[in-house]
Symmetry: C3
Subunit: 472 residues, 3 copies
Amino acid sequence: MEERRQTIEYKFLRQNTHHPVPKKRFTFAIYLGLFHLAFMVLMGFFTKYNLGDGVSAGKNGSNLYAMFMDVHSMMFIGFGFLMTFLKRYGYGAVGLNFIIAAYVLEWSILIRGWLEAGIHGESDFTLDVKSLLVADFCAAAVLISFGAVIGKASLSQLIIMATFEVVIQGVNELIGLHYLKAYDVGESIYVHIFGAYFGLAVSKVLQGTKEIESTKESSHYHSDLFAMIGTIFLFLYWPSFNSAVAVDEGQTRAIVNTFLAITASCISTFIISLLVGKGRLNMVHIQNATLAGGVAVGAVADMQIEPFGAMIIGTVAGILSTLGFQFLTPRLNESFVHDTCGVNNLHGMPGLLSGIASAIVAATATRDKYNGNRLYTFYPSRVPSLNSTEFANLSLDATDFANGGLGRTAVMQGGYQLAAIGVTLAMAIIGGIITGYIMKLPIIEQIEDIEEMFDDEPNWLTPEDYSLKLTE
Amino acid sequence: MEERRQTIEYKFLRQNTHHPVPKKRFTFAIYLGLFHLAFMVLMGFFTKYNLGDGVSAGKNGSNLYAMFMDVHSMMFIGFGFLMTFLKRYGYGAVGLNFIIAAYVLEWSILIRGWLEAGIHGESDFTLDVKSLLVADFCAAAVLISFGAVIGKASLSQLIIMATFEVVIQGVNELIGLHYLKAYDVGESIYVHIFGAYFGLAVSKVLQGTKEIESTKESSHYHSDLFAMIGTIFLFLYWPSFNSAVAVDEGQTRAIVNTFLAITASCISTFIISLLVGKGRLNMVHIQNATLAGGVAVGAVADMQIEPFGAMIIGTVAGILSTLGFQFLTPRLNESFVHDTCGVNNLHGMPGLLSGIASAIVAATATRDKYNGNRLYTFYPSRVPSLNSTEFANLSLDATDFANGGLGRTAVMQGGYQLAAIGVTLAMAIIGGIITGYIMKLPIIEQIEDIEEMFDDEPNWLTPEDYSLKLTE
Amino acid sequence: MEERRQTIEYKFLRQNTHHPVPKKRFTFAIYLGLFHLAFMVLMGFFTKYNLGDGVSAGKNGSNLYAMFMDVHSMMFIGFGFLMTFLKRYGYGAVGLNFIIAAYVLEWSILIRGWLEAGIHGESDFTLDVKSLLVADFCAAAVLISFGAVIGKASLSQLIIMATFEVVIQGVNELIGLHYLKAYDVGESIYVHIFGAYFGLAVSKVLQGTKEIESTKESSHYHSDLFAMIGTIFLFLYWPSFNSAVAVDEGQTRAIVNTFLAITASCISTFIISLLVGKGRLNMVHIQNATLAGGVAVGAVADMQIEPFGAMIIGTVAGILSTLGFQFLTPRLNESFVHDTCGVNNLHGMPGLLSGIASAIVAATATRDKYNGNRLYTFYPSRVPSLNSTEFANLSLDATDFANGGLGRTAVMQGGYQLAAIGVTLAMAIIGGIITGYIMKLPIIEQIEDIEEMFDDEPNWLTPEDYSLKLTE
């Protein structure tokens, strides 16, 4: 009978003596539980349902819930599987992505709710489909940062990172949207730039470049196919990501532009990958750089950039991203900061490209291009101030523009877009460095042994075939 | 030429002499064909299109079709891939799930149509998107039961099980909803409790516990990753499952509550898995218990339980489910009833938790909590009877409440929720035992050899690398 | 330091001396870049946004965007993963599918835009969600053709094929819909028949049957599971494919009919697979023939065929397709034309079945069946001519039928449906043969060595475990 039980347990548990479990991991589980408990209590004090909004069909007949579901899929299937390319970190990719995203969803609902309530001078806030969507956007930033440090940070460290990043990202986006009034419908500045450079700053502080010695940071044939599940879902649903919060005709533009830009980056990636790969395609490029157009068009997706404009942005992004993966990352990994998934290439540089594009587009936006007063739907800060003669002459809709605007010129708006990039970079890098040092506090589990990097064995019970996979 | 053909056939067929095919399997194929033929004839006699309903935008602008598609994905991708964790039963998981679900969709459209028509004293019924959605809910019950017996029942037995379960499940849900008027928007009682205990009853009758000796009931590294595809899709679309048939503000509540509950169960599962796994995460928990919050919030998802209430339910469900997988299932498997996927932990116990929650919530529902008369939208049986003075005093909407109600008190409604659980448990267990004995009739193919369990080879033509996988 | 860099590069690159890269492949990359550049320029000259249409909620409350997303998923996840069944061509399946689909989306937006504009005597055209959906339909045709030649054509050849096929397919569909007025809501004639026979014609010209000697054209256990991801997504979203452009009550019918037909083909496939497999199921059948019902109901999906009619069509399609995979394809592969994915069985024959069904349904369509004047919504060419007495007697809606119709009888309409099949077959086969010969031009990279067929190594940088997979 005793022997029989052993057989049964053997099915699920493998003895794993190589990697002893540090005590700190248990302490961490307790902390995570306390955080979660605190979230529940806070949710009890501060939130109610928003019952008036329903499932929020937009004004133009779109379905917010369906778009939210697409974005939700990108977080869990898209990011989760994209990172399974690592041959021995598949559980970690999809599993740790799962817990980090779930944790961030809870925490960011609170943070975003408080920030929003704070602006309006209220003390509590309501939840509806849009709250959940915003939480998913916030999760995107953290999961991008996760991409920079995957395989090199302990679960405890990742949760610490998420805890701080949610707050800093939320504050940064508030500054950008509310104070600078820099628009970014697809979150290229506030999520992609922020997430990438926050993650890289953390990575720099955590390990620097020693992980370069690991032999486990590579893929297997089937792990690359799992990763393609992530790639394809990100590719498919990116138009929803960039258009979910767009309004009116901006939503159609955001869908069409994102579709064209990401398709263009797919094509330019294949071309460049073939050229730099000496005639052979490289899965790392196909899994990642193909998506750069979605990032790069983000900050201008709902603007009047014209279909060919979207294609140009996507094409440039695909080229830039592929070249980054091929030439930049190997060198940076070795000499300055290790970037496991190459988030600088997929999110960082294309995000910067998008931000710069948004400044140019804003600086050249005219009433002509936007069919007259529709300009102000997309650039409300360009509405003249209430008592100006310009305001009176425009005969604007009394309901929407009752309080007038800031009277910014096109060039001023372009400048504010650039300012938002600057602030975001500063917040991300400084925030990431501080967070990184907190993650290195000795009370938190560290991964210092190279053998423990990019390996599921230290964190997971593994099946019988796992040790064989390594020697394959 | 003859040799060449052999080469060609070799590509598709492997000689497989270990597992001879029993004659009964052919007989079964004929039966399945006859069933299907009968379904077509019956469909011809009894059904028409419901052309008035269109693609059914709900009153609050939601899109029934999109939510139906989410639920549909849960059945085929979610359940199908969730069960691929078995290292040698991947074809069976996704393939048998496919045929069982398809068979159930056809059969349940008829059964549900007849039951519905019967209530209204009609002889035929119409089909629209909602009919297909209801068929998917019914499929969920059968696929849950499949999870209890996967790897241990022949395809013939599974079809027999599906045939009976659809009828019994349909009758049970009719009793619960129509006669007891016990509400369950997310089908936690009528689908999850029912499916789990029906399946366990069948499993008990079929084999008892001898399958415990099999060495094949475990996972490989990549089979666990395939299973995570199922997990993530179930996680993503659960809000659609619980809210698809909810109405008005109840739909927003159902979305928000399910999102919060399932996220909470994800977090609590990771914590408990780490603790009970001596510091290591267990894929069995992550694949399953993370979803328990979706089940546990089901029966109260559209109710005024408040966001923190949803989180508490989800947290408790995740803990309960993980502990079940860790401590209860290994013991039950050995001593009482074998439960391949642990459906007791993911569907049974969280379903019971949900049912009990629904009784408590019903027993404490007040007009205050539901903004006055809106209470009766969610608890119509609490509408006072037509000629009572209470009814007159409430000045209810004449169209919706023209016939008055049953005049139940809150506590009475809570009691009826408990009654529905009791009836469901009885119907599931007795129905499952009877169905199990029918499945054991000697005219039906049985799986008696332990070597044939949890193995695709007896049922499928397998590729050349299949035999190697075992020894890996 | 130099040694360290070698280690790093080793992670991504494997020396691969077996398959030298031909120079033509680089030339091709340049060409592809030029094509893409040309598309951008042309897009700049000819397209604007359609800003009036929004995200296009249909009249009956459906959501075009959500359905478009479903169809979009079918192209990239569905087709991409369906073809990963090949044990050594997984990168090629999902990767080349990715670039071909992306390329076709760009090119077909232009071609379809020009054709549409040409009909209306306009010089430019607008883009909205429907344009993207139509581009996806066009991609389906090319991806079906890809299925016939996968593993045997170089990437250059595939792009050449796509370039010509998009034009010929577009012209053929224009002839069919605009001049012959033969209706085909689910694109069974214009996409499935066309794509299958175009691809087979190309395959015939390219290699004939010599690839039959390859030992690599078979599956592994896990590659079959990857393929099931494709199968299931195609199965799930087929109702969206067939109903996305349907109108009014036709959309409900298209959803219900496709759901029933594809479910029926799933069931009949399992039965026949079991019988012809001597009691064992064959993954090739399950991955493919299960979907034949979706194709076969396509051309009549929105018509009044009744639920049982849809089931009959699906059942027959499943049987036909399974028998084709079992008996026809092995013989054709050997003696006439090699069809890697068996597109004749999944798209060709079921497409023909659908076309014939559409002729019969059209020839028997009466005003009675369609509730009087609603007939003309689905068969507008049957509207009597403007000055006829029949036209006056019908008292048709002045807005929709202001110009009268062609006054076709039911039988005439049936004849035109058959004519469309004939024209499509002719265009596909002749177009495919010509395209095939163009693909064989010596300036384009050819795959002539059998060792290079069905193998990712010639086209991709492969990971360390790749060579081991072969010998497994």
